[in-house]
């Protein structure tokens, strides 16, 4: 009989070893899949790395893809620290992008020094409100935040669709449903060949890290996330903690929307997120909510996406193969949490008479 016993003595080193082993097992499993497709797994993996980091252009592209993941993961990590399972980053990004676009379309001639911060502030407010709404209902009436935030994503999506097909439709596009492009003043400038979003991302990593570990508000989040009862016992207003945390969480996701709209797309469309809000849940979790780890994981994840596009061309295998790799890694890493929390042992079974 297999016996499972809860353990609490897992050291960080052991935990890292278990997670590392999980990734290796995932790669091995996908190898089998690649072999079935008729390719050599090693050369496929090698060219994935090649495709992601092979040239300066590819590195820039990989980083470009990693920025929305980093920013959204940071946002999500705040909510997850509170054990508030915010899967509404997708919607919060969209609303943030909408806030930024509103400023960009209405004040196209303002100086970028005023316009860009204004767009940033609008994106924080819009994304933050989108995060705080489900938080309010959760704090007040204990609604299920997972369902709530998920549904808010659809509301946001349909709202953007309405704007794109209705009031914000570009009159110059001959009836084609698109929102007008931003004026140059509303576009994030390039710094070292990549839009300035990377600077924002790095600054946010530092801010989130300091916020969580060195401010009173951050401390409250950790306490309430560790145990709501302890928070009440210590005299904290648990409801307020939940609401303001989700405002910050949604606000950071909103900045992600502003960066994508202004730095990458230079307009707003319903495809603005390209799934970053969902992928960021994965990267956030894989980073175990630690702000300094998030950029590393996100760059690796972006590399996997970028490399996946490359093997599609090099080997004529569908990009979905790379998605299978992502899914498999996630499956193994999340599954390995079980081995971190439980010790498995075999015990001898003295088998008495069975029940009839």
């Amino acid at each position: 009989m297999i016996k499972m016993k809860a353990r609490t003595d897992c050291t960080n080193r052991e935990a890292s070893a278990i997670r590392g082993a999980a990734i290796i097992f995932a790669l091995l499993t996908v190898s089998v899949f690649i072999l079935i497709l008729g390719h050599n797994p090693l050369s496929v993996y090698a060219s994935m790395i090649e495709g992601a980091f092979g040239t300066l252009y590819r590195i820039t592209e990989t980083l470009r893809k990693s920025i929305p993941l980093i920013v959204a993961s940071l946002g999500i990590s705040l909510a997850f620290r509170l054990k508030f399972w915010n899967i509404g980053a997708e919607g919060q990004i969209m609303m943030g992008a909408m806030g930024a676009t509103f400023c960009a379309l209405n004040f196209p001639d303002l100086s970028p020094w005023i316009l860009l911060p204004m767009m940033g502030a609008a994106s924080i407010i819009c994304g933050g409100i989108w995060g705080a709404i489900p938080a309010y209902f959760r704090a007040k009436w204990r609604t299920n935040e997972t369902i709530f935030t998920l549904m808010m994503n659809y509301v946001a999506l349909k709202w953007l669709t309405y704007l794109q097909y209705g009031p914000w439709k570009d009159p110059a596009a001959l009836g084609f449903p698109k929102i007008p492009g931003f004026s140059p003043n509303a576009v994030l400038p390039d710094v070292f060949g990549l839009h300035a979003g990377w600077i924002i991302a790095i600054v946010l990593v530092v801010i989130v890290h300091l916020f969580i570990h060195h401010t009173q508000r951050g401390y409250e989040i950790s306490v309430v996330g560790g145990s709501e009862n302890t928070g009440r016992y210590a005299g904290m207003n648990v409801k307020n903690v939940i609401i303001y945390t989700l405002f910050f969480s949604g606000g950071i996701c909103g900045i992600c929307g502003m960066i994508e709209a202004s730095g990458v797309n230079r307009t707003l469309s319903v495809e603005i997120t390209r799934g970053a809000g969902y992928t960021a849940i994965i990267t956030c979790w894989l980073s175990s909510l630690k702000a300094p780890v998030i950029p590393v994981v996100c760059v690796l994840f972006a590399a996997m996406i970028q490399g996946g596009t490359f093997i599609q061309m090099a080997f004529q295998i569908p990009q979905s193969a790379a998605q299978i790799l992502q899914g498999t890694i996630l499956f193994f890493v999340l599954g390995s949490e079980f081995f971190i929390r439980y010790r498995i042992s075999m015990v001898k079974d003295t088998e008495p008479e069975e029940v009839e």
């Binding site: 609490t8 401010t215 009173q216 306490v223 145990s227 302890t230 016992y233 088998e351 008479e353 009839e356």
Partner: protein, 500 residues
Amino acid sequence: MVNICKSFGDVRANNNITFSVNYGEIYALLGENGAGKSTLVNMLSGVYTPDSGEIYVHGKRLRLASPADSISSGIGMIHQHFKLVNVMTALENIAIGQEHGFLFNRKHVRDRVEDICSRYGFKIEPDKQVRSMSVGEKQTVEILKVLYRGADILILDEPTAVLTPQETERLFDILLRMKEQGCAIIIITHKLHEVMEISDRVSVLRRGEVAGTVNTSDTSPVELTGMMVGKKVELSIERPAVRYDEMMLEVKDLSLIDREGIARLDDVSFTVRRGEILGVAGVAGSGQKELCESIQGLERRKRGEILFKGENIAHLTPRAIFEKGMRISFIPEDRLGMGLVPTMDIVDNVILKDYYLQKGIFLSREPARKRAEHIVKMLNVHTPGIYHPVNKLLGGNIQKVLLGREIDSTPDFLVTAYPTRGLDIGSAHLIYDELNRQKERGVGILYVGEDLNILLSLCDRIMVMFEGKIIGTVDAAGATKEEIGLMMLGETPGGVTAND
């Protein structure tokens, strides 16, 4: 059940327990909290598997690996908290998981249920939805459910805890009738007079072992209480005399009704003086937790007055009380779930209550680091370091961190709930000594405990609670364990039960 043993981690919940129940008999299991009653019956119902020992049903040795095994061998468990589907009718709840055909043969189920009802004298409305039923009706459905599954051994876990006296009487009628029909009935209870009234034989459990099994007709409540509480053990705990005469805490007519409409506290009034330890005894769930949380300001639904140094604090939040400069420390029963943040280290746990007093938005951990080091040294906490997460400390050390923080804030009043539960003797005595030191400093202490020996040695007075009421308060110096034990089971000092 023969030689049953079961451990959880290092705790021996059941040790070599042997007992047997005959058909046509009502058998009572009596014991204090944590004596191992629930563990024992959970093994019978297949929820836990014993580490060693054997279970025989109808003379046949069985392995009960799951509740399904247990049901198929004729054992039916009626849990204290009902396991019914609220939006379904009585009939549907009874048939759930039992009718495996594609179509639900309502007629067939109804006939069988009616048959069972007439046999044992149940009265139910089969088409009534469970959510609109009274507690008594729900319990009837639970019993019907196990009978429908063919159980002839019934286990009832504190069946009367939620019933009105009339419902209790009806339940007992049914149990007696089932006994006549040849069922074996095991009933777990805290209430002595019920044991005397209904059972044929009774086993008393103490600390995971059988303290004795007697025929009910040959015993008396006093003897049972004696078996339950054990012999008085002299402990070398000092009891310094109370040196102050100043009133510290005065609770007047405190009542609390929870969301389900059950009175958790019922007109509770008492006082604690400066430098006095008032013990609170009672079986778990008698209102101790609610009382502690009310004094702290955590419980918001209460009525009545709580006067602290003459000022009513009944309607203040924990932080409002703190900001008035009243230092009421609270060591809750659930250390990791309420007193501490389990995943945080000692330093972060030390600043839990006063972190917000720092100026600005940033948080400095420097003062906390010094306090954490001081606590570790003062109470001899075994830890790899002050940055070690508290949930990775061993049992007693977790409690020392919590006690250390609460004492370090120089409290005026200290509320402790089971502060030495799970601790070894050495650590426990360290904590008693610390409590006594606080007492001599002039701190008023409310000590909720379960071990009567300790309550009698440590406290100045002992207040006994039962079902949210105060049954009586005795002077610890002159009281006996039997006296308190009887009160804990709802018998007032005069010998009349508090229920009536």
